[in-house]
Symmetry: C2
Subunit: 96 residues, 2 copies
Amino acid sequence: MFENLDPLLHQQLRLAIISLLMNVREAEFTYIREKTGATAGNLSVQLSKLKEANYIEINKSFKDNYPMTVCSITDTGKAAFDTYVAALTKYIGKHQ
Amino acid sequence: MFENLDPLLHQQLRLAIISLLMNVREAEFTYIREKTGATAGNLSVQLSKLKEANYIEINKSFKDNYPMTVCSITDTGKAAFDTYVAALTKYIGKHQ
DNA sequence: TAAATTAGTTTACAGTATAAACCAAAATAA
DNA sequence: TTATTTTGGTTTATACTGTAAACTAATTTA
């Protein structure tokens, strides 16, 4: 009746990150930080977890002499998000 | 951009409980346990948290000489669920 | 009368989330 | 030039949470 909700996605900040990345090709660390309102520390940790699960890719480079971290969602991440949304919808389905 | 998700509702079992109670006038402990697949211990803890927040009411009585715990959602709980669903929808909105 | 079942609660532990502390380089101010 | 601040992060300590296991207590069954 109630499917399991992917614990990696069922967390506010990580869900917000993935939600953002579903809508853009890629996004900078700073951009994600601003959009989500997260602290840099927290964001760094949660991005690492998403990367470990292969839900996102992280590319570190330099831009104007400053480090720049660019993130993008993987196919695995997209699929996980779709599955999560489908499951979640069954919890809240009749009431949206 | 991303509203906060009520942490009390943003948890699988508690969300399942509330989701169930949105659809019935009241439900027994055992019924909720079967529907959610939770262990009795976990269910007991999470019901207590929902009660503390006044999201549900818990009535303990006896039925056929056995204790019987009956739960129902409060107006506060209904409002919280609606708010939660509205917020959550913004995270997953475009992809449902 | 011993064992199993029903219906829970309590609690100890593992896992998670988060902010604070930290790092390093670059830019700016004094 | 040298101190201070800013940028862009990472690491880590702590508090919080979720969960299963252990427990309680009454009842039923063998």
